[in-house]
Point group: C2
Chain length 490, copies 2
């Protein structure tokens, strides 16, 4: 088999890009930093959306839709928010094009300049809190539990498919509450929803925790996150949930009459995950042959490939294959029978390995004689034979096994790569080797920034329920009461 991918060993970054493109997940577009999500990649996103959306609704949330554009002045209202986003904003300044003087080209019509520039949303706190102002008068109007599925734009200088693109797709939840406690509960509830989704469906183990002040969302009081570890030892932030306090309510003057009949500012949270998760998925499980997709979100769970010499042979195999396909579909398993005559079976094997289809079933003339099929698991590439009559009954269990096994493999890798460091030398070496490094830190942004400058490592999170222990900051030697997790990150 000709290798279509650069190996991970050789060049991890190239392997990733090759894989995304060759598995037909996405590609770069003609617009700098913007990607085209191809049908295979998009159907993965649709599966993720459907499951997440169900989880949001189960926890009492509803969907809505807010404008793509945000008036420039809205940004200035929350000081740290504008500072966080101003440097990467796409700005709309005009609303018309016209034919140029030569009559051949088109140019921006300077007569159609906007009085106030509009920002293409990088996130929607400002426009949403400006809207909530009109929705909230009293505690009876609370809580508001809205989510939106949308595209956002952040003008990143260095982009990578799925991981960091100028435009990306995401969901952003924006909730409004009558008390700090309730908002904090919501913040925590949603980071738990994200962790459940990412672990149970995407089979990616995550560590839940809070961000240090320096890594917080621009405008948040507290940011909770889930952090995952990629195969190259770099961490990836897979989702965040922010306790925004009363910051946006104050910036947009959103007050409510509370149960004590007093005016107070409303409490807020926001939380989001994005198409970036697809990058995390690829980098968590895939191998040098291609994608490895967890069955619960794979666009296609089972592929059946016929082996045959002639038309008559194909007909015999097809009869059995189509029956099997029907039986599997009755169990809500997604199945494709690929009987294309334009490709050899070996080529088909390569394609479905590249695309990460969890189970391949091969049926050939000899199998028919023995009333069996060959089953190949994508995650381990193990092959086994199975009696045709047993396949349908065995499949749900096999898919569950694959799901669990992908998760356990990733979890073992992650657990093996959480290293304690107690001296600066150990720390530097551990960071260099990759993985999470658990170390004491004196709690100051100054030290955090200094460590980042020296090692490129950032504090990924302060884990929830973190054991308290006496220790000394890895860099300054100042006293510390708990370890935090450092890593180089995407």
């Amino acid at each position: 088999m000709a290798k279509v991918l650069t190996s991970r060993q050789e060049n991890y970054s190239q392997w990733y890009n090759d894989l995304i493109v060759k598995a037909e997940m996405a590609e770069n577009s003609a617009v700098r930093g913007c990607m085209v999500i191809k049908p295979y990649g998009y159907s993965l996103w649709e599966n993720m959306q459907r499951i997440l959306d169900g989880m949001f609704k189960q926890t009492g949330h509803v969907n809505a839709y807010f404008p793509l554009f945000i008036p420039k002045s809205f940004f200035s209202r929350e000081a740290s928010h504008v500072e966080g986003f101003a440097k990467e904003c796409a700005v709309v300044t005009h609303y018309r094009l016209k034919t140029d003087a030569t009559g051949k080209g088109i140019v921006v019509d300077e007569d159609a300049k906007l009085e106030e520039e509009l920002i293409v949303r990088p996130t929607s706190e400002t426009i949403i809190w400006n809207t909530y102002k009109n929705w909230i008068q009293s505690y009876r109007d609370l809580p508001i539990l809205c989510n939106q599925w949308a595209n956002v734009v952040r003008w990143e200088m260095r982009t990578r498919l799925f991981l960091r693109t100028a435009e990306f797709l995401w969901q952003e939840g924006h909730t409004a509450h009558e008390s700090a406690e309730e908002a904090l509960q919501e913040t925590e509830k949603m980071i738990n929803v994200y962790a459940d989704f990412v672990e149970k469906y995407m089979a990616i183990p995550v560590i839940k925790g809070r961000k240090s002040a320096n890594e917080r969302f621009a405008g948040a009081i507290d940011t909770y996150c889930i952090e995952a570890l990629m195969q190259d030892g770099k961490a990836l932030q897979a989702g965040t949930s922010h306790f925004l306090g009363q910051n946006f309510a104050k910036a947009f003057d959103v007050k409510f009459l509370n149960k004590e009949n007093k005016l107070d500012y409303v409490w807020a949270t926001s939380w989001g995950v994005s198409t970036r998760l697809i990058g995390a998925l690829v980098m968590s499980h895939s191998d040098d042959n291609g994608l490895v997709l967890p069955p619960k979100i794979a666009p296609l769970q089972v592929v059946i490939v016929p082996i045959y010499r002639d038309k008559e042979g194909l007909e015999k195999v097809s009869k059995v294959a189509v029956e099997l396909k029907t039986r599997l579909e009755q169990l809500n398993i997604s199945v494709k029978y690929d009987d294309r005559d334009s490709l050899r079976s070996g080529e088909k094997f390569n394609i479905y390995e590249l695309k990460g289809v969890p189970v391949r079933i091969t049926i050939g003339p000899r199998d028919l004689e023995q009333n069996q099929v060959e089953i190949c698991r994508r995650d381990t590439l193990e092959k086994s034979n199975m009696h045709i009559q047993d396949v349908a009954e065995a499949m749900p269990r096999l898919l569950e096994d694959i799901q669990e096994s992908i998760f356990q493999k990733a979890k073992k890798f992650r657990d093996d790569h959480i290293i304690k460091a107690d001296t600066w030398e150990e720390f530097e070496k551990a960071i260099e080797n990759g993985g999470f490094v658990s170390a004491h830190w004196d709690g100051t942004t100054e030290t955090e920034v200094a460590i980042k400058e020296k090692t490129k490592a950032t504090i990924r999170c302060i884990p929830f329920n973190n054991p308290q222990e006496e220790g000394k900051c890895i860099l300054t030697g100042k006293p510390s009461k708990e370890r935090v997790l450092f890593a180089k990150a995407y």
Copy 2:
């Protein structure tokens, strides 16, 4: 009951706007021409999306996602396309903001000017055909049957909630084919899908036909459409499907090796429906009390309202109500039991009438004594009593009856408002009265434009399977072989 809406008689346009806002479907945002789609309106859109998306997949289409931004130069490539859209484009010219000289405000950073301006997509033919160029080499790569769910921006000067907004949500299908015949079949297939969806689910009768040259999509060879009639006698274009010929393939140099091993340009279609359909829905069925929603797409199909004097009374009613709710939900009927104590039952009645919930069930102490409930249909406002035990069994049929009856009412109205006109006087009068006017036309754009200037009426469509008959153009008296449908339109 205090009227919350302006009546249709009094001011149709005001009635529409009041209704959209008071039923909590949508509202205007702080950004000129952009709306906020509120949870109730959005859940209607979600129902529409889910059904349409299923129909697209059933007909072999897959979803993908293409960039929000389109390089300005792409527009110039297809001459009539740019002419159609240049005057209403939001243009991104910069990619960064910065703090101003005073340190207090933020301004556009002039150092971050884009080399080439980006247009926020008003429709995606250009960026998609630029992408397809890399996907298509041979007939084996065809057909491509992609759809995308997305937001688009057209800088309309006069906007109305749902009907005409600067930003709106839609789906746009873009397909690529090896022959004109196949592309034409696709164009027709999709206008039929739209007609089925709009008639069967939204209960809006439509007329299928083709547009005149003057009303065609900018860049199309032929535009098929479905046209609906609103209660005020104005027509509304509810969906379009375009045969684009080889226009975009030529503009973006997309050639393929055909079965005869010759290079040829690829054939294209595009088709779309948008949140505008929600406007059509409201204006087709609703009345002076509020929305009337067809059960098949209503966010909520049944509401149960308890009547009670005291806590004990409520408990008795609740027991029965909750049981009934469960039984209805087992039949996949969406039900809400509104036992809020903060509102009187009359207030609840008004709210659900305003929101167009198809069936209201009232349960009070006297009902319990007689083992019955009161059922009120939203479409006719008819009330009847029913034995509690019979409700669940009767409900699916009742919902179907309501669905059908809403459609038939709209169809009768539409059919009663298709008037033949054979003289200019008849024509002017008929247009003034509202509705579709079926009249002969000499087939020229000149005449079409002249008629529009005199009456504001446009040719809505040349119906499919239009009877051929000799006649004279209503304006010029020149010979004509068929009648076409004129109307004033949204």
